[in-house]
């Protein structure tokens, strides 16, 4: 393990630079942009889960007083198929048809037309005046029924991809994939115990508190400016450019503050519509979704059916593991089944395994990324099966995981060998944790599970500018969703050797800073952080050479230490050190303004592992589950701002517990979501949860100068199985499916 390094700023938790504006109501979120002369846009949505659209007539709406523009699918260009976007992207032709339906409505709530009017009320009345003729088709709502050979098809042109031969019939199975190693049969033969099960989890939503919102204005030259809440304004610009067939340089995107995303704001819904409406109307158009629209028409994550079979020896060694995964993609291909398949066995060294994944179309909203997309569903199944193995062989669940834990050099199921990773360190920390060594409270049960996420690198840019007085501006393009400006400032402070307070970090718009991929994949502190560090190193190189010129030395005779230029060791010179402020003050005489920059495609995002455990209590009368305590232990590589790392772990735990205990999309037989509001789609509230204890493990990522691994996604993975395993421990009854809502628990306890 690498030695612990003492840093001055990295590893402290100062107040974030955007903090004061966020506690005083000044911060501008997606719905807070208003422009003079602005219109309000609203979307007409399909009342059918599956229907052919025969005719859309906008004329009556357009004739109404106060209505200034109306569009439907026919107003959008045909878009060629092609991959776009990072995490949460997909085929741009599908995104285009999701933004506005063309010939078919594929889920209840699918956008069919939109209007812009002088008030929201007029826009809403105008929607009622739009005539749409539908031919209703039977909805396909269950993932297994959708896979049946005689199922109603969502897309007659969908032929299952990745089969050995192109199938002769279309199917709702958009693609299949397989990962395999070793000899499965031989592995199961070596097993002393075998556990097998099927685990179902319904769709769940990210549930960010801020609904999607944007304001677009197109001028007479055909140049658009769009303000929106997004995890990636550069990718929103790219998607809008492709969907409308506009040049990228005609589109400027400004990311507002973002009120949560968790993967759900990585794809456009409103923006291309608002731009088109604004172009037609010649006035700014603001569009804000209602909460109901967010539930019905933005991407939740896949509902899933996972079948797992695992064999182990009585000493705990896993000899074989098999998984079959079917994930709902919603209306268009692109369920996160691949990352589900790649993550399910990732924490373990398993010689013989097979995973088969299926990406399945159903008449529900197209899924979007949700925190560690695809991993929670699959890993829930396996971590529950492992719990049953541990029970059967009478082994502590942490010891079982330790006996199989992946370590440096282990070949990941998805291919590469792991460099230094922190899974074993997390298990060891859990075994020693006071919450684990204390007895389980009377009447409660304890559950244990592992979590994992790959993390990604991708493209980032950063610029560092030194002001005339030596204060520093860091400009980058990753929307700050949870305090990342503070982390950037800390890494810049550490690298430059100047106080954190001397630095201000900004998130630039698409015209004021270089390209950055989405804030997603837990990449921002790692990849954009790397760009910030490199841009600071660029600054240091320039400051050194300006000091050298001032002192009449060669560049290599100057060093940068503690925020100042000094003569290198051994260089004999009677000069006063030059601070960043000194170099800045003399900049006009030494070559002009000081500007550093870096752009990169970051490699080596280190995988992040976690161990979670919790004590949960079940009320046998009501079926309600109470979380008595919950502990998250996770490898952060290096926590740049530990309080925000803890916050990621606590927030992920809360989301995972909500998913495990209550959250689900409930559909009627017609494919209409019955609980499209926070009253009935019940996310955890403060009185549902205890304090969430955290322990940060630090096994530095060798690919980052400060050892950073992404931390944002891993925390949601383990809580699902923690809850299942704790309820099993508390009640003696194994419930495979989620959520563990009161009716499901009561049914299980009464033996149904």
């Amino acid at each position: 393990m690498a030695e612990a390094v003492d840093y001055r700023y990295v590893g402290t938790s100062p107040v974030r630079p955007d903090g004061v504006d966020k506690v005083t109501g000044r911060a501008q979120f997606g719905a807070d942009q208003n422009l003079p002369n602005m219109l309000h846009g609203r979307v007409l949505r399909s009342p059918h889960a599956h229907a052919r659209i025969k005719r859309v007539d906008l004329s009556k709406a357009l004739a109404m007083d106060g209505v200034r523009a109306a569009v439907s699918g026919a107003d959008f260009p045909a878009v060629e198929s092609g991959e776009i976007g990072g995490e949460g992207g997909g085929d741009v032709a599908d995104i285009a048809r999701n933004v506005m339906a063309r010939d078919k409505a594929l889920y209840h709530g699918h956008a069919v037309a939109a209007v812009a009017a002088t008030s929201v009320e007029i826009a809403e009345r105008a929607l009622e005046a739009i005539e749409v003729e539908y031919e209703a088709l039977p909805p396909v709502l269950d993932v297994l029924e959708a896979m049946a050979p005689d199922a109603t098809l969502l897309d007659e042109q969908c032929f299952t991809k990745n089969l050995p031969e192109k199938p002769d019939k279309p199917s709702n199975v958009a693609s299949v994939m397989t990962l395999a190693r070793g000899d499965l049969d031989a592995g199961f033969e070596q097993a002393d115990v075998v556990v097998e099960g099927e685990y179902r989890i319904p769709m769940a939503h990210q549930g960010y508190i801020e609904p999607h919102a944007c304001t677009a204005t197109v001028n007479e030259e055909g140049k658009a400016t769009v303000w929106c809440c997004t995890q990636g304004h550069f990718e929103f610009r790219a998607m809008t450019s492709k969907i409308l067939k506009w040049k990228i340089s005609d589109l400027k995107f400004v990311a507002s503050e973002i009120g949560g995303g968790f993967g759900g704001k990585t794809v456009v819904y409103l923006e291309p519509v608002a731009v088109l409406l604004s172009k037609h109307a010649g006035r700014p158009v603001k569009m804000v979704m209602s909460r109901e629209e967010v539930f019905r028409a933005t991407g939740p994550t896949s509902g899933s059916v996972c079948r797992v079979k695992v064999g182990a020896q009585s000493n705990g060694k896993i000899t074989a593991a098999k998984a079959w995964l079917a994930y709902e993609a919603g209306a268009f291909a692109g369920a996160p089944v691949m990352p589900g398949a790649m993550s399910i066995f990732a924490p373990y060294e398993i010689e013989n395994f097979l995973v088969e994944g299926h990406d399945v179309l159903v008449n529900k909203p197209k899924v979007a990324a949700y925190r560690a997309p695809g991993a929670p569903q699959a890993m829930h199944a396996f971590e529950v099966a492992l719990d049953d193995i541990a029970r059967q062989i009478g082994m502590d669940p942490l010891d079982l995981r330790l006996a199989n834990a992946a370590d440096e050099g282990t070949q990941a199921p998805y291919g590469p060998k792991f460099p230094a990773i922190g899974f074993k360190a997390c298990i060891e920390a859990a075994k020693k944790h006071p919450n684990y060594t204390k007895p389980v409270p009377e009447g409660a049960g304890r559950g244990v599970a592992a979590g994992f996420w790959f993390n990604i690198g991708m493209q980032s840019s950063a610029e560092v500018r030194i002001n005339e007085d030596g204060t520093v501006i860091v400009m980058e393009g990753s929307p700050d969703i949870g305090g990342s400006r503070a982390s950037m400032g800390l890494m810049a402070a550490e690298t430059l050797g100047v106080p954190y307070e001397q630095i201000k970090t900004y998130v630039g718009d698409t015209e004021s800073t270089g390209f950055c991929n989405v804030t997603g994949g837990s990449r921002t502190t790692f990849a954009t952080g790397l760009a910030v560090v490199q841009a600071c190193e660029d600054i240091i190189a320039q400051c050194k050479s300006r000091a050298a010129a001032t002192w009449g030395m060669d560049d290599d005779q100057v060093e940068w230490q503690d925020g100042q230029a000094i003569p290198a060791p051994g260089v004999n010179a009677d000069v006063k050190p030059l601070s960043l402020a000194d170099v800045a003050a003399s900049a006009p005489k030494t070559g002009g303004p000081i500007l550093g920059r870096a752009s990169l495609n970051a490699q080596g995002a280190g995988a992040s592992f976690a161990v979670n455990f919790g004590d949960l209590k079940v009320d046998p009368e009501t079926g309600a589950v109470e979380v008595l305590s919950f502990t998250g232990i996770q490898d952060a590589g290096k926590a740049i701002h530990p309080a925000y790392v803890e916050g990621q772990m606590q927030g992920g735990a809360a989301q995972g517990l909500g998913w495990a205990l209550n959250e689900e999309y409930i559909y009627d037989a017609n494919g209409v979501m019955e609980n499209a509001g926070f009253l009935d789609y019940r996310v955890p509230v403060a009185s549902d949860l205890p304090m969430i204890d955290t322990q940060i493990v630090e096994v530095p990522n060798p690919s980052h100068p400060y050892g950073v691994r992404g931390v944002g996604e891993t925390p949601i993975v383990a809580p699902l199985a923690v809850a299942s395993n704790a309820v099993r421990d508390a009640t003696g009854v194994r419930i495979n499916d989620l959520p563990l809502s009161p009716p499901r628990i009561l049914a299980a306890l009464s033996g149904e």
């Binding site: 107040v15 004061v20 973002i258 949560g260 992920g652 926070f678 509230v685 009185s687 549902d688």
Partner: protein, 159 residues
């Protein structure tokens, strides 16, 4: 649609505005008065992002008609700091990193202010139940509860 003339006091200022009979107080605050710090998360009374204090009572401004605010005294997030500096709740939210995205934060601070105004020394359970009408999807509530506890402490024993 004819508009109504509504007279209020907002954060100590006399504020008159024209509102339509159907308009919620939330929409009036945001669209007529320009108080954009009050947020809409749901519009149905389920998330608390729109919390304001009306005549000493904590309300979801999305559930109240603007017309019902006639003559009322309203405190919004913009009125919590006193001009000299942040309110202890605001300081403690920052110190404890009790916000991630921050969209729920105005609602939480207003709701917590209403709590501390009536109960200066709430225990953890009281805080959790009082704030149960405010949704935060980012933090898991841990740091929010601690920030409120710490702010209560500071208000009781100013340094």
């Amino acid at each position: 649609m004819s508009k109504m003339h509504i007279h209020t006091t907002i954060n100590g200022d006399q504020v008159d505005f024209l509102g339509s009979p159907q308009q919620s107080l939330l929409d009036a605050l945001r669209d007529e008065v320009g108080k954009l710090g009050t947020k809409e998360g749901c519009g149905t009374g389920d998330c608390g992002a729109c919390s304001v204090i009306v005549d000493g009572r904590l309300v979801c401004s999305c559930l109240m008609l603007a017309a019902e605010a006639e003559g009322a005294e309203i405190t919004t997030i913009e009125g919590i700091a006193d001009g000299d500096g942040l309110h202890p709740l605001q300081e403690k939210f920052l110190e404890h990193a009790a916000l991630q995205c921050g969209v729920c934060t105005p609602g939480f601070i207003v709701a917590a202010k209403a709590l501390l105004d009536r109960d200066p020394n709430p225990d953890e359970r009281t805080i959790r139940y009082w704030l149960a009408g405010n949704l935060c999807r980012c933090t898991g509530y841990d740091k929010i509860v601690r920030a409120v506890q710490d702010a209560a402490e500071q208000l009781a024993h100013p340094a």
